[in-house]
Subunit: 277 residues, 3 copies
């Protein structure tokens, strides 16, 4: 598959999102939750945030995808994540998991392990520090952002990390960074859209994860869903940088959401830098 | 009362908000809470968010209006909603209730019922799916957004729904949608400001509810408070659409808050499309 | 020390923040948390938000500064504030405390007292109502914003309040308002940057507190850290007002974050209005 073929597939899946308006259930953190809701509306999906154990499964039941994000993990919502995850599994609904800060505390590590043990994940998306930690490899997490020593995502080592973890967990693994890698164990995609400035706005990772939820909720190929979510955010970052990069990170932040709301399959075909290897 | 008379009343009430700077206590969701606080500041009110049972009633006591919003309902804050609601009732302070997602889960349904049973509500604001659900009518809620089949708010049927529920609950009922309907059982207002784009930004409903809180906190006619909050948001939506509709949903979102902060009684007189029938 | 000397010191400390990228642990409210994270990224620091008792101390341990903000206080996170505060004390890490709404409820009062009793605070930042309340003086708190009768921060009385409380608590006390006062008991700085419009956006106080956390995390003089955080926000407010003050409070809000992301030691040297007396 060459670059062009993937781009067409991503564009088609975007059209599906816009047609189907999948309801995406997010159990997520309170730092970036507003951006996650707005980016889902911008891509054409419908967001719902619900994290109380008394309704989590009910809300999952009416949704098309579940996004679990442990950015501001707390004991109250862990059970909701598990219960919703199991409900989604029962319904064959995609579950996208963002292990924010895995490696940064015992609590996050144990919770990440528990979620991976008890819920069948469709797409795991993290930065290189988080993914290496989950892989049992040496990583040097510094809070919720990837360590600079961990971010060489484009290397052969990065590809191996993604592929091996994908086989181990039997899910699509997406590592985002300067270059992004997505693997479902067999297929590997290298994605090169984006801009360094994306790391100067909080929640661009969380938003990417929610976008993956939207794409997975509109199609059945979750590898393509991950590729599409990441590529959409990368392209939006480039467009936003062009428009607002010189103005500052506040305007850049808003321009990202603008760009997603204006994204078309045509723009994707022209701008996507996705390669399957 | 013709259109012009209502517009003058709304404009006068806006001036009251700006003069009195009512403190509005919000027990609300963590998705749109920042926008609710900023929209209250923009209209000239003062926001306070406090949801712990140990201070909820104390904070209500120093406020001029209470806004209850169940967008991210959880067990911890339900008791605070009830206790604050009762305190507000005791003090004859207006209570505005936004039953976000009523119909979407048993938990939301039961909580909505409990709040309506235990607290005397001044204004109930929801979309057509939520209001129909509360009325015991057939509705087809899809998450937190109104179903397309439910949104014919301008019809005679919509007017009946608002009027009947208003009489049943003895409060002002506001149904927002393409056309908005407000009724206090006797009076009915049809509001036609706004733009479809408002549904592409999360929290425009929540912000409207908080604005109603500001207007009700500055005057004693809660029917007029509801009409004013909804008309203000509708006009802001039109101004924002004119300025930023072509740029994207991120910029449109910011332009809504800009427009509310620039709103004057003059602008309202020129732009309001409110009719009492 | 004249104005120019302080400005150079602030500029140098900004360069340190940009070089060291201190990880700042925030246990804060859900209203303004996104802005706090984004302002920390904009100044060049790295934010982490974690409030569960099971990881609070672990996250503090890997951080360079701790920020405690009681804006939406709840029972669950108070223990985390205490535990993280004690851990930071143990590690000689700076703790910045924002007693949002102290005076507004018994619960906030008791919690403020408990934090001050059990944690050694490095910088206490509040508005005049909050600081007067903590000082045991007559204050007239109205919610989370300073009462107009309390805001004469530039007066000799204000200087005495800051100095006395600083000596009593053995920490730097910063009172923000039209004029800001910072004292560590011996030194007193009067800061005159800023614009009235900052009070029309929620969270500018919280963002200032988080900025102080970033500066304190990059240097060892916490008096200078407080002066630097407040001056940075004041200058950003002036730049934002120049750019977007006429557009509205939404655009002004975004322009504040833009201005912080563009802030340089050169800009500080040119614009700072800081005097040590």
């Amino acid at each position: 598959m060459n670059n062009n073929e993937i781009s067409i597939k991503i564009g088609n899946l975007l059209d599906e999102v816009r047609n189907k308006k999948p309801l995406v259930h997010n159990i997520t953190n309170y730092v970036t939750v507003n951006d996650c809701a707005n980016i889902l509306l911008a891509i054409g999906a419908s967001p719902i945030m619900a994290d109380d154990i008394k309704e989590a499964a009910d809300i999952t039941k009416i949704s098309s995808a579940l996004v679990i994000n442990i950015g501001t993990l707390n004991e109250r919502t862990i059970e909701s994540m598990i219960v919703s995850g199991k409900k989604a599994n029962e319904l064959n609904m995609p579950v996208v998991f963002d292990p924010v800060g895995a490696g940064a505390s015992e609590f996050r590590n144990a919770t990440t392990k528990r979620i991976l043990d008890e819920v069948k994940i469709s797409v795991l998306r993290g930065n290189m520090s988080e993914i290496k930690f989950i892989s049992g490899l040496e990583s040097s997490t510094k809070g919720v952002d990837a360590s600079e020593s961990d971010v060489k995502t484009g290397s052969d080592e990065g590809i191996d990390v993604a592929k091996n973890l994908s086989n181990k967990l039997n899910c699509t693994v997406a590592i985002t960074g300067a270059t992004d890698i997505v693997s479902d164990g067999e297929r590997v995609a290298i994605l090169e859209n984006g801009t360094k400035m994306l790391s100067n706005v909080t929640g661009t990772g969380c938003m990417t994860t929610s976008l993956i939820g939207a794409f997975c909720g509109a199609g059945s190929d979750y590898f393509l869903g991950a590729v599409s979510g990441i590529t959409s955010m990368g392209i939006a970052g480039e467009i936003a940088f062009e428009k607002a990069g010189q103005i500052g990170t506040g305007s850049f932040h808003i321009a990202i959401i603008d760009a997603i709301s204006n994204l078309t399959s045509e723009v994707i075909k022209n701008m996507a830098k996705a390669t399957e290897i």
